[in-house]
């Protein structure tokens, strides 16, 4: 929701929630999505064959063109935040054209790695954006429910609900979401003391998917680097490429599994060492399942009520038997 155009009144906010709710009830993927193999029952996955990517930037431009209406449009000056030394504004409004990293105005960029592998030189280009984890910590750990995964596997941040605390960025293994200050719900709550804008990242063109279209980056790529479809089919295709060419895969198991897989003729640890990393520039490191411990602890929580009832019954049993003994003694 753009503050400039609509404002965030209570009515608009609730209306936004209603729309979000209704949208969530829609079939996750319209049957006419171009990839003939889409289905409603499986999460959608993208495959990026980075051996094909020439780094032309069409995907970056396509993403920008299609998603421009979703970009933040804050009104300056921004409210002062406290404590100013910690709650610093993150303002990208004067840097909207930055395309060599992820920003609130650039949800996809291309990394380049020049490497040697098996005696050969490679220049590998890697389109980078949100990987859409199967069990996304950004959505699981958002205290406010502003991020969630849809049934079709798309992980979204709802801009009309997000307060911009940037926790999603902190817990994301790749620190993908990016913050824009001066926009969003926090302005209507406690702008000085809580919140700091809205977090933005690739939403895999969820609206286009709902209309049966392809995500822009997939559609405009002249080299057909990306393929999208049901997870099982895309994974099968990725493994076929890996097996046939002796290639490597990234994303299948990272962070417990993502709905983005990269296949490459060069191992990803070599690429990880060669790409520029830093703020808004994610690496290609191996990533363990961030939520694995929570999954184990969930078992303890599932057992706890039954253990509690059993302990209570044992206590009552002992209490009754001791009362009976006392009565018998009397």
């Amino acid at each position: 929701m753009k503050l400039k155009k609509t404002g965030i009144s209570r009515r608009n906010f609730l209306k936004g929630l209603g729309v979000g709710s209704a949208a969530a009830l829609l079939p996750s993927v319209a049957p006419s999505v171009v990839s003939a193999a889409t289905s409603d029952s499986e999460e959608l996955m993208t495959l990026l064959d980075i051996s094909k990517c020439t780094g032309c930037g069409e995907c970056v431009q396509g993403c920008s063109d299609v998603n421009e209406t979703k970009y933040p449009d804050p009104i300056k000056p921004y409210p002062e935040m406290y404590p100013a030394s910690r709650a610093k504004p993150e303002d990208w409004t004067d840097k909207r054209d930055v395309d060599d990293r992820l920003t609130p105005y650039n949800w996809l960029y291309i990394q380049t790695a020049e490497v040697e592998y098996n005696g050969e030189s490679y220049e590998i280009n890697i389109p980078r954006r949100c990987l859409h984890c199967q069990n996304p910590p950004c959505a699981n750990l958002c205290p406010w429910g502003a991020a969630a995964k849809q049934k079709n596997g798309i992980v979204r941040i709802f801009e009309n609900v997000c307060l911009g605390g940037a926790k999603c960025r902190a817990v994301c293994p790749w620190h993908i979401p990016q913050r824009q200050t001066g926009v969003g719900l926090y302005l209507r709550l406690l702008p000085k003391f809580a919140g700091n804008g809205v977090m933005y990242k690739c939403d895999r063109c969820y609206n286009r998917i709902n209309e049966g279209k392809l995500p822009a980056c997939v559609e405009v790529c002249p080299e057909s680097v990306q393929t999208i479809g049901p997870r099982s089919e895309i994974l099968a295709k990725a493994h076929e490429l890996v097996k046939k060419n002796g290639w490597f895969i990234y994303g299948e198991d990272e962070n417990g599994g993502t709905n983005t897989v990269y296949v490459s003729p060069v191992p990803f640890d070599i690429l990880n060492g060669a790409v520029e990393k830093g703020a808004g520039k994610p690496g290609l490191q191996a990533v363990a399942d961030s939520m694995a411990d929570e999954e184990k602890l969930a078992t303890a929580i599932a057992i706890a009520p039954f253990a509690g009832i059993a302990a209570g019954i044992i206590k009552v049993g002992r209490y009754l038997s001791s009362s009976k003994k006392e009565n018998d003694n009397e």
């Binding site: 940037a166 929570e294 602890l297 057992i303 706890a304 509690g308």
Partner: protein, 158 residues
């Protein structure tokens, strides 16, 4: 464990659940609280979340133990006070919504975004309400869960 120690342990668990629950919001670093010696862990979202989960298992165990004991032996002899009913209901609602939070975080569970938001908001609101009610009960000197006689959480005789 005697009742007095049980009650103290229960209060410690609730305190750390509240602390680690609040730590899920990105405020301890912003307000320099995690800069205080020994409190750096409060800024680690994963660590505080795991502690919250572990303590939730202990809390649910204790609550179910108390509820079972109360229903089976003391339901007719000890009546919950009005403040006790409110707090017990809030505990139940917090646990209920908390369990849903745990379920929605399982890798093979996907709930629709609106449901996720409602779970998160209600969990937060009920926890805040419990904090307010508990504070009011403490200030008014009516911290007993029962109208008269013993207090299951104060370790007195039943």
């Amino acid at each position: 464990m005697s009742n007095i120690y049980f009650a103290r342990f229960f209060k410690i668990i609730v305190f750390f659940m509240a602390l680690t629950g609040v730590a899920q919001m990105p405020i301890f670093k912003r307000y320099y609280i995690s800069d205080l010696p020994g409190l750096g862990w409060l800024a680690d979202f994963y660590l505080t979340n795991k502690i919250h989960y572990a303590l939730a298992a202990v809390l649910i165990f204790m609550v179910m133990y108390l509820a079972t004991e109360y229903i089976l032996t003391k339901r007719n002899s000890m009546k919950l006070s009005r403040c006790g009913v409110v707090r017990a209901a809030l505990f139940a609602l917090i646990i209920f919504t908390g369990v849903f939070r745990v379920i929605k975080n399982l890798p093979y569970v996907t709930m629709d975004p609106f449901t996720v938001m409602m779970i998160d908001w209600t969990h937060l609101v009920f926890a805040m309400l419990l904090g307010i009610v508990a504070l009011m009960a403490l200030i008014r000197g009516k911290s007993s869960y029962f109208e008269e006689g013993g207090n299951i959480l104060k370790g007195k005789s039943y």
